[in-house]
């Protein structure tokens, strides 16, 4: 992992700026979809030819905001047929399963593409994911974006767009996530909590449905900054530098395939099919390494509780990003369970994951581990990552299920809920001590002697011990989620 210690004077400046910017801020913060933050995440971003996404990003502060952003392409494609798929789908005939062709397996990916954004004070901005946005100061101010022909199609919209342009999503069809990090103009992370956003996912017109107007919308999930990062390029989500991710998340939704609960007397569009509702849940790991382009692997306990107090759970492992239909999981459909609604709780599980060393041990990048030795020479076994979620429901009707369809499938999304799983009145997940991941911690003082991140066999109590051996090294004691970012000054694209 590339780590650089910044100069003490620049660090001091950053600390002063941050302390002042956070003047009066509360001691405890949460990862939230309600409040602006310094790390802004859109877990579900689609530009795959069937749907497209509008991203809005807003500066809520009275000074210019800069952001580094990263698209994460996480599309799953069947290796032979090229269909969209879900690598964790296990149920025959489910939407995520590849067609039964010899050698046709689901292959997912994790590729990133970064860009910058500049927002003037209180400025909102918007771009379409498939086209990006190019600044055109001569555009009419009539609330209409103009297409710029080409491949891929580009778009300009009225309004200041000081960064010059945002690129279209890479490698379309695109399914994945977007993250933006608030920084100073020199690229230094700035925990000023000025950014918020939304995503509008729109269904595209088709030949059968030339006027296809279904949209879903959710808020970005925002991580509040509390203190300036102490290590260049690494944002530590530990409730000290940035707020910690939740211990667990959950969503309430129609049970798999349940019929819509109520239809007005004059509506006959459900008389044939009952109007079943299907659900997709999208998960992203809090941990990510954009420096080395390594996504986090995460195992999740997916625990279902229905209206009859019946509970069932499965524990799949996901790579970097997960977007699964409930039909992909071996849960009983509503037609068997008789329930209309269900709560799905998603809990990170496992002892740890290799965050450095030989991360391909067991043939798996980011493989599971119990201690550093499991990660090979120079390996570090870090705590399992926290997760974040959004949910989207799809409302079918007789018309949308007709062949060909005469109306679109209705869609609706919302943010997941954080769960205080250990009932300690703190939504943030605790850290775990280096060398003993079974030990929970809040600060370094809760752990014993630590180990250096790079010189992994050297014991330490502070960063200075490790930095004396390698200026880019630091001491790991209480570990939590980390986002390793690509640093560098903001680049205006002409």
């Amino acid at each position: 992992m590339r780590v650089q210690k910044r100069s003490p004077w620049l660090t001091g400046l950053g600390v002063v700026l941050t302390a002042m910017a956070l003047w009066g801020a509360q001691a405890r913060a949460e990862v939230s979809s309600d409040k602006p933050g310094s790390v802004v995440m859109w877990p579900k971003v689609i530009a795959d030819g069937t749907r497209d996404t509008l991203i809005t990003l807003t500066n809520t502060l009275n000074f210019t905001a800069y952001a580094h952003c990263e698209y994460v392409q996480a599309l799953g494609l069947c290796s032979i047929t090229g269909d969209f798929c879900d690598p964790q789908a296990t149920v025959d005939g489910s939407p995520g399963i590849c067609p039964a062709v010899a050698g046709n397996v689901c292959v997912d990916q994790w590729q990133t593409a970064n860009f910058d954004v500049v927002l003037t004070r209180q400025q909102p901005t918007i771009w379409r994911v498939s086209t990006g946005r190019i600044y055109d100061p001569f555009l009419l101010t009539d609330g209409v974006c103009q297409d710029i022909p080409g491949v891929p199609l580009r778009q300009s919209c009225p309004g200041l767009f000081l960064i010059g342009q945002v690129p279209p999503a890479p490698d379309q069809p695109f399914r994945g996530e977007l993250r933006c990090f608030q920084v100073a103009s020199d690229g230094t992370p700035l925990p000023a909590n000025g950014l918020k956003g939304e995503a509008v996912i729109e269904t595209l017109p088709t030949t059968d449905l030339p006027v296809n107007t279904q949209i879903s919308k959710y808020n970005s999930i925002n991580v509040e900054g509390l203190d300036a990062p102490s290590i260049d390029g690494i944002l530590r989500l530990n409730d000290i530098e940035y707020s910690a991710c939740p211990e667990a998340v959950e969503v309430t939704h129609y049970a798999q395939g349940a019929n819509v609960l109520d239809t007005p007397a004059g509506f006959t569009g459900c008389s044939g099919t009952g109007c079943p509702v299907n659900t997709e849940i999208t998960l992203i790991p809090c941990r990510a390494d954009f420096t080395n382009e390594v996504g986090a692997r995460f195992a999740t306990d997916i625990r279902y509780t229905n209206e009859f107090e019946q509970t069932l759970s499965v524990e799949p492992t996901f790579d970097c990003w997960a977007n699964f239909d409930l039909r992909d999981l071996p849960f009983a459909p509503a037609s068997l369970s008789g329930t209309t609604f269900q709560r799905t709780r998603l809990i990170p599980t496992g002892s740890g994951n290799c965050i450095s060393g030989d991360t391909s041990l067991n043939g798996e990048e980011n493989g599971p581990c119990a201690d550093d030795a499991d990660c090979g020479t120079g390996g570090v076994c870090g705590p399992v990552t926290g997760i974040l979620a959004v949910v989207e429901e799809f409302y079918s009707s007789d018309a949308s299920l007709a062949v060909p369809p005469t109306a679109p499938t209705g869609t609706a999304a919302s943010n997941g809920y954080s769960v205080d799983f250990n009932r300690d009145n703190n939504l943030g997940r605790p850290g775990h001590c280096r060398g003993d991941l079974t030990e929970e911690c809040t600060t370094d003082a809760d752990c014993g002697t630590g180990l250096c991140r790079i010189n992994t066999t050297v014991s330490c109590m502070s960063d200075a011990t490790c930095a004396a051996l390698d200026p880019t090294d630091f001491c790991d004691r209480c570990m939590n989620d980390e986002i390793a970012t690509e640093s560098g000054p903001i680049v205006i694209v002409q």
């Binding site: 910017a21 809520t60 918007i126 609330g143 939304e198 107007t213 509780t305 609604f341």
Partner: protein
């Protein structure tokens, strides 16, 4: 002579002081809470609202809930109206006046249970998943009786308070006592579901209920103190500013250029008196920013409940509104809403629609927030 570094540090400190951000607000739409607010409940000929309430805890929870019927009514006929032109009676026109009718009920949730109901139909008796008794595979919902909303059409609000199922008041609690800590176990959602009888389409608009979490103490009486001095606060404060991101009305949808955007905004006061059924009045001040950093402002009285197309907040001629793309000139906008005389809670729905083909789709979403209110808000319950 001062070094350059000291000068820069001084400038940074001064800049920070000027630009310092206030504390983050403390209502939540994404975690369990002790009070839930659904600002928009709609039932009409073609719309119903499906309400969900879920117990985050592994022990039973109960909630005392209040529907607030905020239909406007004609002063002469008593009929539901949107404006006075609908209040004609024998050639005379009455006024269309805002109303406020409250009905309350209880919901009992078993451990970890999700529960949902149609606002039009309610939920009780054999409709309960766990009513108990012969033939019931689980028990614990007995005592739940959700009435259907009082009339159709219905525009209103729903508020639920985690409470003792016997007294129907909040549990007395104090986080200082590990055996009697305050609970934040409820989470809620709503899906306003549109049914288009012309093409058979279902259009769902889903949002999360806004939650007020406990402040760590509660005396268990009928006056709920939201924010204010820490010694008195029973629930965390409402926000000082609601941050509402939206598309300007009439802006062309960049994805489907045949469509235009429109938005509706719903606001309810944090303070409500269910005991006397007195109508709370809060003035909402709106600061609207477009993508050129230009700022517009307006204000509007929130009389119990404000649900309005955003381009009708400041005028009846929507093309002249500061929320209109024809005036703002850009697609996206940010509106900061400050309640004067009380806190506000809200949510919004974005629509993309094709006027010529009468096709529309909506998406509900929650507002962001900024800073805590200093003064307390109060909810009085019977």
């Amino acid at each position: 002579m001062l070094s350059m570094k000291k000068v820069l540090l001084g400038v940074a400190a001064l800049t920070g002081l000027v630009l310092s951000a206030p504390a983050q607000a403390e209502t939540f739409s994404d975690t369990g809470a002790a009070v839930l607010v659904w600002p928009t409940i709609i039932v009409s000929e073609d719309y119903d609202t499906i309400v969900t309430m879920t117990n985050q805890a592994a022990v039973p929870s109960a909630a005392h809930c209040f529907y607030v019927n905020a239909n406007n009514r004609c002063s002469n006929t008593g009929e539901v109206c949107e404006d006075s032109s609908e209040c004609e009676d024998g050639g005379f026109f009455g006024a269309c006046l805002p109303g406020w009718i409250e009905i309350n009920f209880d919901v009992l949730l078993t451990r970890d249970q999700p529960l949902g109901w149609s606002a039009a139909d309610g939920l009780s008796g054999s409709g309960l998943p766990c009513p108990g008794g012969i033939g019931s595979i689980c028990s614990g919902n007995g005592g739940t009786r959700v009435p259907p909303v009082g009339e159709v059409p219905f525009v209103g609000e729903l508020k639920c308070i985690q409470s003792d199922p016997i007294t129907r008041l909040p549990f007395p609690c104090n986080d200082a006592n590990p055996l009697n800590r305050c609970r934040n176990d409820l989470e809620g959602g709503a899906t306003i579901t549109g049914f288009n009888p012309n093409n058979g389409e279902i259009d769902p608009e889903r949002y999360n209920a806004v939650g007020l979490r406990s402040a760590g103490q509660n005396n268990g009486d009928s006056l709920l103190v939201i924010g204010g001095p820490p010694a008195q606060a029973e629930y965390q404060p409402c926000s000082e500013v609601l941050v509402f991101n939206h598309m300007f009305d009439g802006a062309v949808d960049p994805v489907n250029p045949d469509n235009e955007f429109a938005s509706t905004l719903s606001l309810v006061p944090c303070t409500e008196n269910f005991l006397t059924q007195s109508v709370p009045r809060v003035t909402a001040q709106f600061l609207v920013y477009n993508e050129f950093e230009q700022r517009f402002s307006t204000s509007r009285l929130v009389n119990c409940l404000l649900t309005s197309d955003i381009s009708n907040i400041d005028t009846t001629q929507s093309d002249r509104s500061i929320f209109s793309a024809a005036v703002a000139g850009t697609v996206a906008g940010q509106t900061r809403i400050t309640g004067v005389g009380g806190g506000l809670i809200g949510n919004a729905v974005l629509f993309t629609f094709n006027d010529s083909l009468l096709a529309a789709s909506g998406a509900g979403y929650n507002l962001n927030q900024f800073a805590d209110r200093v003064d307390p808000d109060f909810i009085s319950i019977p």
